[in-house]
């Protein structure tokens, strides 16, 4: 049995609200929690295989060149070394998210410093690691390698023009024209990229750390010139992804090639340095924001222009303007994105591509405008929420932005007043507060899931969807439990195996609305079948605690099943419901910071985030996703920055000591409000995504709080002590 829905219309039935089990949205623990906290969850590199060899990647110490020769003899005589793999099918870059085809296979052409060019395989990790460092490479440069995005050739990627922004700026009562930069970011998931490949002569099985198995399977098969059916990927636990595991990366293909060539299982785990040097970066950006407003603070013009970068041949351009298209009004609009071609490692999706750096800059500009107007910054934002998409005219399916600003302000204790910095000092520390809006475009993709109702009053959910910490196990259990009248403890959710029906994968915050809808559809199919067996209408059926009830009757589910399992595949496809409306999640951030008057060190003292994400499927994991996003805001605002050498283009800070993700002490108490919302256009479960919204704009709230505290308007992220003191008025 299967149920298919291509959602062309909003689903206002709110079916989940009419169910009886009472577990949807509830604050329940993760079903896989005990497995994780006892160390018994098995991650990619932790499977055991008899006769397994260890592979270590060798990377090129040149930014652009060609490997003339690989001197295999330099290591083949070393103890335990079994092979040097430099097959033409080796991949030089990771695949972009949803690519579904082989990433760039450059043979011996090197496009960025640290590109993997070979794999050394040995009996033990210690042997392979040593040999990989010692493998002799001959290479020569192959021409210019532009390293500086400001000096490189650019391509126009996207632009929107409406009216005449320049004219609006000239005529406006108040204007803001600022240029703000952000530096490159790394996903820095805690689990390094890893793959264990096994080849039985017909089928390749790879345990890997991946986010989107359906696409990854196609990418790997295409890379190796195998049929998709010959490839099985297994990723039930993934130690964080944040975009870095959307597409297959180099170790997956290298391990597979080695296993196929040597006839033994091969494990390849990237070193942390290799993860930094070869996996996707978030592009640095230079953004110009222009705002024109009348005397009452109504925007008459809105401009957002950005420069981002990527390697030659890569289509991805950090979509900086994504939410700027519709966050605020202004009849005269200019939005423009340019892409510079430079030789740094591939730029791709890092958690919340686009908005993660594109909203905070707009929010800084809004803060400056509020100051010029002498207005409370929240009042300014409320005054400029457009009635519909300013360029396309499509209505908002649901937008809780005003409510988030208002409810968040109340929870935070925001004092509505015009901004005037340096109002509060505690010893050496200036104290200030800031606010910012949050926005993230909504996305859903095709997904399938199979739900099997078993005669023992349990159910099984199967999809190749992953749980990268996001809460998939939890939410799918809660959706199925609600629909089938079972407690989530009785739902066995199995994920991360391409033997299961293909789900959406984890990325773009679409996992929950897409796979959640597939599970929902499967359950609707099961409910219909049960109703049919009882000879009642589906709407007359109530499932609760393992019982089926209807007007005048009640029976155990097990009796209806007659001892046989009953399964249904739910198949969800996005349709025009998300094209006919502007569908996005919204929210608001509030931050209180302390800035040291001497050293410019900034400490976030507390933060509140209020978010509208459609239906909340699991209160606990949704809150945790927001906590994570807000933690990223702190890193984005204060500490995170990829530093590339200006001479040879290598990434200087390629480890966790020098790429500063926030440590525990950087993160204060964080408050999360999830507003009640149903977005009928977003998905048939009325849910939007939550994994990314929490970092879309919050760094701007911190930047605005820095200004409110000490009077420093800093126009470069991260706002490290040196940048803050350079912008700070005298002590």
């Amino acid at each position: 049995m299967s149920v298919h829905l291509k959602q062309d219309k909003p689903d206002t039935r709110n079916v989940l609200d009419t169910m009886a089990q009472g577990v949807i949205g509830a604050d329940l623990p993760r079903p896989e929690g005990l497995i994780k906290v006892t160390g018994t969850a098995i991650y990619a590199a932790e499977y055991r295989a008899d006769g397994m060899l260890e592979g270590v990647l060798v990377t090129a110490p040149v930014v652009r060149g060609e490997i003339a020769s690989i001197n295999e003899a330099s290591v083949l005589g070393m103890p335990g070394v079994r092979a040097v793999i430099s097959d033409k099918r080796m991949t030089g870059r990771p695949a972009q998210g949803t690519a579904g085809e082989a990433p760039f296979q450059p043979a011996r052409e090197v496009c960025y410093w640290g590109q993997p060019v070979a794999l050394v395989v040995a009996e033990t990790f210690e042997q392979a690691r040593d040999a990989a460092k010692r493998l002799a490479l001959d290479w020569h440069g192959t021409g210019d390698a532009p390293l500086d995005p400001e000096a490189a050739e650019t391509e126009k990627d996207e632009s929107t023009r409406k009216g005449d922004l320049a004219h609006a700026m000239a005529e406006a009562a108040h204007t803001v024209d600022v240029t703000i930069t952000t530096e490159g970011h790394a996903s820095a998931a805690m689990e390094p990229h890893a793959a264990l490949a096994q080849w039985d002569g017909r089928t390749l099985t790879v345990h890997a750390s991946l986010q989107m198995l359906k696409y990854n399977r196609a990418e790997l098969a295409d890379s190796l010139k195998l049929e998709e059916e010959q490839v099985r990927l297994v990723s039930p636990y993934v130690g964080g992804g944040f975009g870095s595991k959307l597409g297959i990366s180099q170790e997956v293909v290298a391990a597979s090639l080695a296993a196929m060539q040597l006839g033994r299982p091969v494990r390849v785990v990237m070193s942390r340095q290799q993860v930094f040097q070869t996996i996707m970066r978030r592009s640095e950006t230079r953004q110009r924001i222009r705002l024109a407003a009348d005397a009452e603070g109504r925007l008459t013009g809105f401009g957002h222009e950005a420069l981002v970068s990527n390697l030659p041949g890569e289509d991805f351009a950090e979509p900086v303007l994504q939410s700027s298209q519709f966050l605020y009004g202004g009849d005269n609009r200019l939005l423009k994105l340019d892409l510079a071609r430079i030789h740094r490692m591939t730029a791709g999706s890092v958690r919340a591509p686009g908005e993660a750096v594109g909203v905070q800059t707009v929010e800084q500009a809004m803060d400056i405008l509020a100051e010029k107007l002498g207005m409370d910054p929240i009042a300014l934002r409320l005054r400029n929420l457009p009635d519909a998409h300013p360029a396309k005219g499509t209505p908002f399916s649901s937008r809780k932005l005003a409510e988030c600003l208002e409810e968040g302000a109340k929870a935070f204790g925001w004092e509505p007043r015009p901004r005037a910095p340096r109002h509060t000092r505690e010893g050496e520390w200036w104290i200030g507060t800031g606010v910012a809006s949050a926005a993230r475009v909504h996305a859903v993709v095709e997904a399938k899931a199979r739900v099997t109702l078993r005669p023992d009053r349990t159910a099984l959910v199967e999809t190749d969807m992953t749980d990268i910490g996001t809460g998939t196990y939890t939410i799918l259990g809660q959706i199925a439990g609600e629909m089938l009248g079972l407690m989530p403890d009785d739902i066995d959710v199995r994920l991360g195996d391409t033997d299961f029906p293909p789900g959406s994968g984890s990325g773009g915050s679409w996992g929950a609305p897409s796979c959640g809808s597939a599970v929902f559809l499967a359950c609707e199919g099961l409910r219909k079948d049960i109703a049919r067996r009882l000879d009642i209408g589906t709407d007359d059926l109530t499932l609760k605690d393992g019982l089926a009830r209807w007007d005048g009757g009640e029976t155990a589910l097990a009796d209806i099943l007659g001892g046989e399992p009953l399964d249904c595949i739910g198949h969800f496809e996005p349709g025009s419901s998300i094209e006919d409306a502007t569908v996005s999640s919204f929210g608001a951030f509030f931050a209180e910071v302390a800035v040291n008057r001497w050293t410019g060190e900034t400490r976030v003292r507390r933060m509140t985030g209020a978010f509208g994400i459609g239906r909340v499927l699991s209160a606990r994991t949704a809150r945790s996703q927001c906590l994570g996003g807000m933690t990223w805001c702190i890193g984005n605002a204060l500490t995170e920055s990829l530093m590339f050498d200006p001479v040879d283009g290598h990434l200087a800070n390629c480890d966790l000591a020098e790429y500063h993700v926030p440590v525990h002490r950087d993160v204060p108490a964080l408050e999360v409000l999830l507003l009640e919302e149903r977005d009928a256009a977003a998905s048939p479960i009325q849910a939007k995504g939550v994994g990314e919204l929490g970092l879309c704009g919050g760094a701007g709230a911190i930047a605005n709080a820095i200004y409110d505290a000490c009077g420093a308007r800093v126009f470069a992220y991260p706002m490290t002590p040196d940048r803050v003191i350079a912008a700070m008025p005298d002590i």
Binding site: P61, P79, E126, R129, D130, K133, E428, N596, R597, W598, T599, G600, E601, R603, L638, T639, M643, F644, D645, P646, V647, D648, H650, A652, N653, C654, A657, E658, H660, P662, V663, H664, R665, D666, T720, P721, D722, I725, A726, I731
Partner: protein
């Protein structure tokens, strides 16, 4: 990591004998050495594990305190005598690394900790410290962490530790045992400037082993360690200041200052104490002290900010110690 011959030293003499040989390294806590061996920055042929020698005692000696070479950073920082009489030392240690690392890291190992220069730790980059004559990748490259005082055209690396900065302020001594003689040097003279021999971090000669650090009699006063870093914990210093300050009748009676993050060694400039002692604390005086400190400072673009940051951090520490309001 290259293969090596692992030997466990059962007696100090055994270790002292082996360390004189080429390609031999002593392994104590290992938190820096093993890190660098994995990167093949260090490639010892023989590793002599001294971790079980009884060189970890912290004991009173004369009026002062003797901290054994293998006392862990944790043992030193939690020692009640250190906390009471040398709080700047406890503070400096606690400001460094993490509890896990401090539980392993030792006194001697910490003094010998190597630079965190990104080029030094990347064997595919030029570095005169790691590979003499290969050039310095930092001078025209990424120099954010790097030195502004006492640099040379060969090397602009910094000494990365915190503990030694406090030891410099306290005027501790390093006890060294060698094949022929034992000697003791002031901590202030233990680390070197890079000059034309940047591969030498300190004055240890081949075959010499640190046996202890000795602290002089307690001097009391106000003791502060101020570390400015990019995140609030688990990061190396951009600038740090260790201060042992005495004030009587609104005049400095003592002003022992040392600085981290600025040079290839914990930076101690005796002229600062000469200027400050006997004078009344004031912002103008602190500014003069900073002028002296930074007289010969030179930035390399990326790290230019350290010059104003050092000035401000020094002022912050002196204001905190003296109660002067900016």
């Amino acid at each position: 990591m290259r293969p090596f011959d692992y030997q466990r030293a059962e007696r100090f003499e055994h270790a002292a004998q082996l360390v004189g040989e080429d390609g031999t390294r002593l392994l104590a806590g290992g938190t820096n050495l093993i890190d660098l061996m994995k990167l093949q920055v260090e490639t010892p042929q023989t590793l002599v594990d001294i971790g079980r020698l009884s060189l970890g005692t912290i004991a009173e000696e004369g009026d002062g305190l003797r901290i054994g070479a293998l006392a862990t950073n944790t043992a030193t920082a939690v020692d009640p005598r250190v906390r009471r009489d040398y709080p700047v030392l406890a503070r400096a240690i606690l400001a460094g690394a993490t509890q896990q690392l401090r539980n392993k890291a030792t006194t001697a190992g910490n003094l010998c900790q190597r630079t965190r220069c990104y080029n030094f730790t990347n064997i595919d980059q030029p570095c005169n410290k790691r590979e003499p004559g290969s050039g310095c990748g930092a001078i025209k490259g990424i120099a954010r962490l790097h030195a502004v005082l006492g640099t040379s055209d060969q090397c602009i690396a910094t000494y990365p530790g915190d503990m030694a900065v406090a030891l410099a302020a306290l005027d501790a001594r390093v006890e060294i045992s060698g094949e022929r003689r034992s000697r003791s040097v002031r901590l202030r003279d233990f680390h070197r400037l890079p000059g034309d021999t940047p591969w030498r971090d300190n004055v240890l000669d081949a075959g010499e082993v640190i046996t202890a650090v000795t602290l002089p009699a307690p001097v009391g006063g106000i003791q502060l360690y101020r570390k400015v870093r990019e995140r609030s914990s688990y990061a190396f210093a951009l600038v740090s200041v260790a201060a042992v300050i005495g004030i009587e009748e609104n005049r400095f009676t003592r002003a022992d200052l040392a600085f981290g993050g600025l040079a290839h060694k914990p930076w101690h400039d005796p002229r600062l104490a000469e200027l400050l002692v006997g004078s009344e604390p004031s912002l103008a005086l602190f500014d003069k002290a900073a002028d002296l400190l930074l007289e010969d400072a030179r930035g390399y673009g990326e790290n230019d900010f350290k010059i104003p940051l050092a000035r401000r951090t020094l002022a912050a520490v002196l204001c905190e110690a003296t109660g002067v309001e900016p």
